[in-house]
């Protein structure tokens, strides 16, 4: 009997376990209590998990032989993910107000998906990472088809089929990397690659390419972004909001982990990734220019933002990790905020014609002002957070020598001004044409102000938070 109990430290997994337990209660309790109570329970659970993440900051605990790590990278991403989920939970309250039906399972599945994203961000082992990835994906597939309309069901089906295919490619890539190195642990893979006996560099390179495709799909990088506009437009707005921030952030956490920790010394993926980023920046920004629907425009804009964050994957891990985290934190606030405004302004889940925003500045000053904030920040206008995020990522990529891509990113982000500024111009300088509904409750209005304040603070005093993130560096 040489059995040794594995190294389990539940304390290090506290945020994850909290979210999971909340999800379990959100599964069982809807049989007994009202939906409002479930929304409250979910919000409380997420807040507790947020507190636990902050409490674990700098403790660097790990569990399961280092397969699960609560280092500052994981905790930072965990906070971003929890905030993204909180915004979605608060926004979902407005859906009922406008007569939409969000099923009671929404909260449970959302929370399971959040637990998957947290697993993905904390995993230092390819198998755990993959399971987190799949839990997140399954949850979001279901959520996308939650509205009982043909469009929403089409979105879910499309996402599921293409996503399943991308997952298969990802799993194949993981299998090839494991076959080449004989290891699942991220650091162990890097050690194996660096060891003089390593002879499978071509197999590892093919595996890296496959993993690149799998993650490229999930973060919506061109040419694997094809699903994004249709799914983002067809899915319920609250789900799109969650998908565009939390799923993207978690996928980037895994992306950064795999390529920054495990495969940084494998050659062969850097050049394809540069092409992907260049294509993403161009397609995302140019296609967003031509959209007349705000929801679809934001979908393409989120493709473009995948290109910006992709630069951080190319950069050296010491700078890339913290700058990507900072960027995704701001992106969560501004993009989820923009979707929250879209959600309360539209009467169904089909989004909103940009033209119909005309005159909103005088009729709904708060919504117009916060939307202006979020759009300006997404465009990267200086005092706001989006600018600092872009600056950090560009400088991280530039210091790794990717000047061409940085110039392209700066150019395309100048192009993006056109489509981000147009709604603002319409809101303030055009007379009102259509009367838009306003379904915002008090919680949403508070949320919008908090998000806008966050975007402003992260832009004005970046050092306050970025100084903390310096600790993310390995």
């Amino acid at each position: 009997m040489n059995f040794v109990a594995p190294d389990v430290n539940y304390y290090s997994m506290l945020p994850f376990i909290t979210v999971l337990l909340t999800a379990v209660f959100a599964t069982i309790l809807p049989f007994y209590v009202s939906r409002k109570a479930i929304a409250g329970l979910s919000a409380v659970g997420l807040l507790v998990a947020l507190a636990a993440s902050i409490g674990l900051w700098n403790t660097n605990l790990s569990s399961f032989y280092g397969a699960y790590r609560s280092d500052n990278f994981a905790l930072g991403f965990g906070i971003v993910l929890i905030v993204g989920a909180l915004i979605a939970v608060i926004s979902s309250v407005d859906v009922a107000k406008r007569g939409g039906t969000m099923q009671a399972e929404f909260f449970a599945i959302l929370l399971y998906a959040v637990s998957g994203t947290m697993l993905l961000a904390s995993a230092h082992d390819l198998i755990v990472l993959l399971i987190g990835f799949e839990v997140m994906s399954l949850g979001v597939y279901v959520l996308s088809s939650f509205q009982e309309t043909a469009k929403s069901e089409e979105a879910g089906m499309k996402y599921f089929l293409l996503g399943g295919f991308a997952s298969a490619i990802l799993i194949f890539g993981i299998a090839l990397v494991f076959g080449a190195t004989g290891k699942f642990g991220l650091e162990a893979i890097n050690t194996a690659v660096l060891s003089p006996e390593f002879k499978n560099s071509s197999i590892a390179a093919v595996g890296a390419l496959f993993i690149l495709i799998g993650f490229g799909f999930k973060v919506a990088m061109a040419p694997f972004h094809q699903w994004t506009p249709d799914v983002y437009t067809g899915a319920p707005t609250v789900v799109t909001q969650f998908m565009s921030v939390a799923v993207k952030a978690a996928a980037f956490a895994g992306f950064l982990h795999i390529f920054g920790l495990a495969l940084q010394n494998v050659s062969g993926w850097q050049t394809p990734l540069q092409f992907l980023i260049a294509l993403t920046l161009m397609i995302g920004n140019l296609a967003a220019l031509r959209q007349s629907n705000l929801k679809r425009m934001l979908a393409y804009s989120s493709v473009a933002h995948a290109g910006y964050v992709g630069l951080a994957v190319l950069a050296s891990p010491s700078q890339g990790f913290s700058s990507a985290l900072y960027y995704l934190g701001i992106y969560t606030l501004m993009n989820a905020g923009a979707f929250a405004v879209l959600n309360v302004l539209s009467k169904d889940d089909d989004g909103l014609e940009i033209e119909s925003l005309a005159g909103l500045g005088s009729s709904k000053p708060l919504l117009a002002a916060t939307l202006t904030f979020f759009l300006l920040s997404l465009a990267g206008i200086p005092p706001l957070g989006g600018f600092i995020g872009k600056y950090l990522i560009f400088s991280a990529a530039a210091s790794s020598g990717y000047y061409g891509l940085v110039i392209l990113a700066a150019l395309t982000s100048a192009v993006s001004l056109a489509y981000y500024l147009r709604p603002i111009g319409l809101m303030y300088f055009r007379p009102r044409v259509t009367v838009l509904p306003d379904f915002s409750g008090r919680s949403t209005r508070v949320l919008l102000v908090v998000c806008a304040a966050g975007v402003l603070i992260l832009g004005l005093v970046p050092n306050a938070v970025y100084g903390l993130l310096e600790l993310v560096k390995k």
């Binding site: 009997m1 059995f3 109990a5 379990v24 599964t27 069982i28 049989f31």
Partner: protein, 117 residues
């Protein structure tokens, strides 16, 4: 590989008997087809409509749920075999696994998926 030779031989024999029975039947049997003989066999009743009918989606859901619990069982087989070695720790871990899946079962039951209407 040798330890699987007898398994392989068994497969061969089993498959061979099946194929042989078909061939012998086809070669030796008399062939006098009639309409009644060519009808689909439905336990002596006259067949009504095509056998390729569409199934209610309910069956599919139950089949899908079956797979989920089937996979759960597949995980417990190794646990059962090595339980004496692993001890109570594995028991608690497996219990955590079961409890989570049981939440799903509770949900399915309460939701009335397994009730046939």
């Amino acid at each position: 590989m040798n330890e699987f030779l007898h398994v392989f031989i068994m497969f061969l024999v089993a498959g061979g008997i099946g194929v042989l029975a078909l061939i012998v039947g086809a070669v030796l049997g008399p062939k006098k087809p009639s309409r009644t003989k060519l009808m689909a066999y439905e336990s002596g009743n006259d067949p009504i409509g095509s056998a390729r009918e569409r199934f209610p989606v309910h069956f599919y859901l139950v089949a899908m749920l079956f797979i989920i619990f089937d996979i759960e069982t597949a995980f417990f087989y190794p646990l059962a075999v090595s339980f004496n070695k692993l001890g109570t720790f594995a028991f608690w871990e497996a219990l955590a696994f079961v409890v989570l899946v049981a939440v799903g079962y509770f949900y399915i039951l309460k939701k009335g998926v397994l009730e046939w209407k």
